[in-house]
Amino acid sequence: MSAAQLLLRLTGVSKTYPGFQLQDINLELPPGCILGFVGPNGAGKTTTIRIITNLVRPDGGRVEVLGRTWDRDEVAIKSRLGYVPEDNQLYEEATGYWLGNFLGRYYPTWDDAFFRTLLEKFHVPGNKTVKQLSKGNRTKLAVALALAHRPEVLILDEPTSGVDPVVRHTLVQELLEVIQDETRGVFFSSHIIEDIEKVADRVTYIAGGRIALAGDKETILEQWQELTFRLKDAGQLRQVQRLVPYVKESGLEVAAVTDAYNPRLLQELRLLAAGEVTRRPLGLEEIMLILAGNEWQKAEGA
């Protein structure tokens, strides 16, 4: 896909803070796509989002939003961007309707009827002040405000964090509706992998300020598989370690995880196995846990 068609493109982006470094971040968001941006707390998700939205200036690299750069087209980009921050930044003293009216004056594409429809759909009382709303309703109001000008790029920073499953479901369904319009894209950051698994087309996993995994969700789920089998003899373990990166053994019993599953790999492992090789596809959460390195150590030379 050419750079001009991409909604978001980050190339080699870096940012250093005392005690934290964001390094070599490369990201692409094509139209019609929901990109799930996952990672543990403190991995660099919010910093990356703040760089994308120009709230933080990167030390290095290039950020393009809708094919434009912030230094040249700040206002034009902002008018086509929707953002729901992690921490609620809405004025507590303002009502939902007033906020809609206020933002409507700044966005040429603001659709007030759509905004009110969203509030009704989300069951958010627009005549109450933000202070009077529950956390879930505040989040829904923030999403409605971000959607009402029909942004081409919607950036959500942990919108489902701390809200109940019903609200999460509503928000996730809304994102799926947004993406029906194939010209728009959603950048959805969350540490709730279940939500990402439901809606994302692409997944990027960030850990320790670096991107540890990125790609099409279906491809990732196809390629990451757990394979369990019994070795013919213990000496074959090294061969297994050369074929798959993550291996755990207990005597002759082996559990292995590959990040590049293909039928040929299965055939090769069958030659080393005493019996049948059992294959189990992994969920995103399991993959993230493996990448976190708590339970599975990556074999050297794999």
Partner: protein
């Protein structure tokens, strides 16, 4: 300008519940101002309303962590800073208008003799004082945050409105001001016209300097 006006009206809307506080403080301030004459009424009135409106709006931004929200509006970042400075001037003018109403009432009811020069120079000096005293506070807010702005405004408030004004009365220049306020020097005596021009220049320079510094500080602090 329209962009900035929307940002200013936003602050007035958000401050709607605190507005009565301003009115109560203004009401009581007039009792103190009455003794000092029209200039004191105008200075206190402008000072209080500018101080309360600007500081309250900064507090609201700080409490709601809303500067990032504003930064994402499709407006240049400098418009957010400019709006606060516009608010400062408008707050001063609003207080000035309230002060003028009180001064008129004092004059009409015959409670005290009010002279024209007293009113004119009262308004000019009020606006100058507000700009010189509060522009740095706005810069401190955009550069270091609310805590620094709050401390600075607290210090300037006490240092200026109580300390400096008290000391001022001990200087001999006060005689000149008294004569002026009494109308004995006419409406535009040349020494005071010169002083007025100088004050206007200092005010404008102070306003522009801190506006530029605030714009830079806002970008630096928010984007680092």
């Amino acid at each position: 300008m329209i962009i900035m006006w929307e940002l200013v009206t936003k602050d007035y809307y958000l401050l709607r519940r605190q507005a009565w506080w301003v009115l109560v403080l203004l009401f009581f301030s007039y009792f103190f101002g009455f003794r000092g004459g029209a200039a004191a009424v105008l200075a206190i009135s402008s000072g209080i309303s500018a101080y309360l409106l600007v500081l309250s709006s900064l507090s609201i931004e700080d409490k709601n962590n809303s500067l990032s929200f504003l930064r994402l509006l499709p407006v240049p970042a400098r418009a957010i800073v400019d709006a606060k400075f516009l608010e400062l001037v408008l707050g001063g003018l609003l207080g000035g208008v309230c002060g003028l109403v009180i001064v008129t009432l004092i004059s009409v009811t015959g409670l005290k003799t009010i002279t024209g020069p007293e009113v004119i120079w009262g308004i000019i000096s009020s606006l100058a004082i507000i700009t010189i005293v509060y522009s740095p506070t706005l810069w401190l807010f955009f550069r270091f945050g609310m805590q620094a702005a709050r401390i600075a405004s607290f210090i300037t408030w006490f240092a200026f409105w109580f300390g400096i004004v008290t000391l001022w009365q001990r200087f001999t220049i006060v005689t000149l001001w008294q004569r002026l306020y009494q109308g004995s020097m006419g409406l535009f005596p040349s020494p005071l016209v010169a002083a007025g021009v100088l004050l206007a220049l200092v005010t404008a320079a102070c306003f522009v300097l801190f506006l530029v510094l605030s714009r830079r500080a806002f970008v630096y602090r928010e984007m680092r």
